[in-house]
């Protein structure tokens, strides 16, 4: 059980920095979630044309010079904004933190599509003559780019890298941070996930070809997990970075503790490129619960992964029913993608962050746009359309799954 670990091995969240399509700080994001305010809007992208997306409006120049923005990537800017805000939220005396003891672990669904598409578009104007291909292409597209840009910006000389984990990446970043702290590879972990996916037409076109891209007359109604009329994913950009520390260090400096990582798990379906496997998802949840020393009924809120696709939502609900059965009425279930769309590599981290204030305000935010529940998506504790006041919330379980059958679960508890 997590509580049996010595404080030096217990890992807590002491800082949160984020940009979501409906908020650029945890209080703003939480307010939007409790208000039922969507961040999805009309969007147009190269070649693909009009569609809908979750678009962020954070101020890049708050933490970067114009030259850094020009040279770097959108994912890098998202990461820098979120990491800088997380450090500020943590209350760490950053100027005096030994930066060689800080590790940066950033989950990404993909990286390099945006920059490659941009370069191909630009050399089209030069009849595809590759001597016009930018020398910035390689530093922009190396897989560690978003983490590396954070390292450059914050002067962090400890390890930095990204974790390619499809749409499970946000949780994967957090899990990596926990592991590295326990292994004493770092003393402070900046971890989470980022996404710049809306700037790649290929992401939209591929989901569209797959029949899995959301379409709706009203953009804010397009992301509708569990609804019988859902028709696909709303692609979103965004990011969320956490500051993780060991409990003893956090307490020693009197840090505000947002929650403790009580358990986690990752596994693989090994069945299909795209279609999820509810059996493996359920196994992943069980493994995380076992590591946390908890039973399903010990979980107060399940933050579901559901992306608003026809098959994916039903498959996750099958996994959830498999774990919670009919005895899960105590456990509430919500969905954050219904507000912001699918923020890809950032999704897991953002969705966990959106639920964390429940430890303080005692409210479970809803899954919105749920007009007509799909019978395949019936869940005993589903919170539909309006937030539910619970009183005391002690535990949150955060699902995040991705293509090629990658599953991740993180459990956070109140400290």
């Amino acid at each position: 059980m997590a509580t049996e670990r010595p404080d030096h091995q217990r890992i807590v969240i002491t800082g949160v920095g984020l940009s979501a399509p409906n908020g650029n700080s945890l209080p703003e994001f939480r307010h939007a979630l409790l208000e039922g305010r969507s961040g999805v809007s009309a969007f147009e992208t190269r070649y693909f044309g009009p569609t809908v997306a979750g678009v962020c409006d954070f101020d890049e120049l708050r933490h970067q010079k114009r030259k850094e923005v020009r040279r770097g990537t959108r994912a890098g800017s998202v990461g820098i904004f979120c990491a800088s805000e997380a450090v500020a939220d943590s209350g760490l005396d950053w100027e005096n933190v030994d930066r060689s003891t800080v590790g940066i672990y950033v989950g990404v669904t993909e990286h390099g599509n945006v920059e490659t598409e941009n370069e191909i578009f630009l050399i089209k104007g030069f009849d595809y003559d590759t001597q016009y291909w930018s020398h910035h292409h390689n530093p922009r597209t190396v897989a560690n780019n978003p983490a590396g840009e954070i390292s450059l910006n914050l002067g962090v000389t400890g390890p930095h890298y990204t974790l390619g984990a499809a749409c499970a990446a946000g949780n994967a970043g957090i899990i990596q941070g926990v592991q590295m702290l326990r292994l004493e590879e770092c003393d402070v972990a900046l971890c989470g996930g980022v996404s710049e996916s809306i700037h790649s037409f290929g992401i939209f076109a591929s989901f569209n070809s797959q029949g899995a891209l959301a379409k709706h007359e009203s953009p804010e109604r397009a992301s509708r997990p569990f609804d019988a009329d859902r028709n696909g994913i709303v692609v979103a950009e965004g990011g969320c970075m956490f500051v993780l520390e060991r409990l003893d260090a956090a307490r020693a400096r009197g840090a505000k503790i947002h929650g403790e990582i009580a358990g986690y798990a990752m596994n693989s379906d090994a069945t299909d490129f795209v279609l999820p496997d509810p059996g493996r998802q359920a196994e992943c949840i069980h493994l995380a619960l076992r590591r946390a020393g908890m039973n399903p009924e010990d979980i107060d809120i399940v933050s579901t992964h559901a992306t608003s696709t026809v098959s994916g939502d039903a498959q996750e609900c099958q996994a959830l029913r498999q774990v919670w059965g009919d005895n899960g009425r105590h456990t509430l279930m919500n969905n954050t993608k219904s507000f912001i769309g699918h923020a890809m590599g950032a999704a897991g981290a953002l969705e966990l962050a959106g639920n964390l204030p429940a430890f303080d305000d005692g409210v479970c935010h809803a899954s919105i746009n749920l007009d007509r529940l799909d019978q395949q998506c019936e869940l005993p504790g589903l919170v539909a359309n309006r937030p539910r006041e619970v009183g005391t919330i002690n535990t949150i379980l955060n699902n995040s799954f991705g293509m090629l059958g990658i599953n991740s679960v993180v459990i956070v508890k109140r400290v």
Partner: protein
């Protein structure tokens, strides 16, 4: 293009490459790197922008000609005089 026009074109490129810098006091005879925070990737940007905007090819062994504003203008004058 005249020498003044070439200087103006270089300033426009520098403004894009170093958007945070005040270029109004740039001294033409002093190396650019002594006045601006430019690294090797920035000089490659100058080469690339000259290629994109004016179709000018600068061989790698001649990159040193771009050290200062004065040397850059002098080097580019014969290449851009008919533009």
């Amino acid at each position: 293009m005249t020498a003044d026009e070439i200087r103006k074109a270089i300033l426009e490129i520098l403004h894009d490459i170093a958007p945070d810098e005040d270029l109004s006091g740039l001294k033409d005879e002093v190396p650019l790197r002594d006045q601006l925070p430019l690294d090797s990737m920035d000089f490659l940007d100058i080469v690339m922008e000259l290629r994109k905007r004016y179709r000018i090819q600068i061989p790698e062994e001649e990159y040193t000609e771009l050290a200062s504003m004065a040397s850059t203008v002098k080097y580019l004058e014969p290449k851009m005089k008919d533009m």
